[in-house]
């Protein structure tokens, strides 16, 4: 795993938001030019930022792209829940849990 290509993918999402639409429309086609390993490609496609962060991708980038790919609603709670394996940690200001 190189990580450099993953960080390039995420950084470029931030520089041009039209890229998000292109990625959503055709993830494989969008990612084809990047030098991603097969497992990196799959993690990017399923937005498994936790796994990518655990492999060393900058969490500045994972935090930046989560609302771009998942929608801004629910930030930061949905992101934190994802980064904690689906369990929301105690966080000030979090909405009441059902």
């Amino acid at each position: 795993m190189s990580l450099n290509a993953v960080e390039k993918v995420f950084w470029e999402f931030g520089t041009d938001t039209d890229r998000i639409a292109a990625f959503r429309a055709d993830p494989d086609g969008y990612l084809a030019p990047y030098r991603l390993e097969p497992d990196e490609r799959e993690m990017v496609k399923r937005v498994d930022l936790k796994a990518l962060a655990e492999r060393g991708v900058s969490t500045l980038l994972t935090m930046m792209v989560w609302p771009m790919l998942k929608g801004p609603e629910g930030m930061p709670f949905s992101y934190l829940e994802h980064m904690n394996g689906g369990v929301m940690p105690p966080f000030p200001g979090m909405p009441p849990q059902a």
């Binding site: 450099n4 960080e7 390039k8 950084w11 470029e12 931030g14 520089t15 936790k50 962060a53 900058s58 969490t59 500045l60 980038l61 994972t62 935090m63 930046m64 930061p76 992101y79 934190l80 980064m83 904690n84 940690p89 105690p90 966080f91 000030p92 200001g93």
Partner: protein, 276 residues
């Protein structure tokens, strides 16, 4: 000749302006009062220029180019981010002094990255907006690699600060300069622990500032800082630059310390007083 007449350490947390409502309002008031006190002090010092030392957060610089340290010598505006609730504006730069610091460094083995035109992120824009613009000063923005790896070594941060201090002292002008070391204190940015604030770590670091213990800060390993202060606490290398730039030994005078989990950060603001 130009002089460094004062220094301060302060946060650059984007939520200070981007989302003040989510924090405890008494704590917010304490932080605002501390920023106001910084402005009051720089006016009393008759400072006309602030060297603001901050770091990027993958906002300005990408994987294609990550400068270890960069100086803005020309046009500056900010912020880059649209969500800080700060309408972008042009920030006056002391371009003559900035260019002098650049050249002084070049002549002494400091290979600056240089920006002739810069749109700054919250790493300097929050301190600029809160404590430079209200004081009517010009800004020289300096960015260190403190937020994105590979990081500037803390030893090099001290050397950089010492060089900046010497450069200002060698400038043939009447400029009265303050240095702002920005960022920190404990915060975990984008990690599973985001929201955690480590009061013990913050007080350890602030104690070193109060004692003027630059080497104590230099000698905190990145591994220690990551474990106890989070990836955001690596920004204290900006404080090292500021403290090392001061013309003599300093003692820190703490204006406020507020542990603020809703702002995901331990917030500290202090003046770097020249020790008697």
């Amino acid at each position: 000749m130009a002089q460094i007449v004062g220094g301060f350490i302060m946060p650059h947390d984007p939520l200070i302006t981007g989302n003040p409502e989510i924090a405890d309002q008494a704590q917010v008031a304490a932080v605002e009062a501390a920023f106001a006190r910084v402005v009051e002090r720089v006016k009393a010092l008759k400072a006309d220029t602030a060297i603001v030392i901050g770091d990027d957060h993958f906002t300005m610089f990408g994987p294609h180019c990550l400068p270890p340290y960069l100086i803005g010598i020309g046009d500056v505006e900010g912020p880059e981010e649209s969500w800080l609730r700060i309408e972008r504006y042009s920030v006056p730069n002391n371009t003559a002094l900035a260019e002098h610091i650049m050249n002084f460094g070049f002549d002494r083995g400091f290979d600056w990255a240089v920006a002739k035109s810069l749109v700054v992120d919250h790493g300097t824009m929050i301190p600029i907006h809160k404590a430079v613009t209200p004081a009517g000063m010009r800004t020289i923005p300096i960015y260190t690699a403190a937020g994105v790896t590979p990081l500037l070594r803390t030893k090099r941060a001290k050397e950089l600060g010492q060089m900046i201090g010497a450069a200002v002292a060698a400038f043939p002008g009447n400029d009265r300069v303050v240095v702002y070391g920005t960022g920190g204190i404990s915060h975990w940015v984008g990690t599973a622990e985001m929201g955690r604030v480590n009061v013990e770590f913050d007080k350890l670091v602030l104690g070193m500032v109060e004692r003027g213990d630059i080497d104590g800060l230099v000698n905190l390993s990145d591994a220690y800082v990551l474990e106890h202060g989070g990836n955001g606490a690596l920004e204290i290398r900006n404080w090292i630059v500021a403290m090392a730039a001061m013309p003599a030994a300093i003692r820190g005078d703490l204006f406020c310390y507020e542990p603020m989990p809703p702002w995901i950060t331990g917030i500290g603001i202090a003046e770097l007083n020249l020790a008697a």
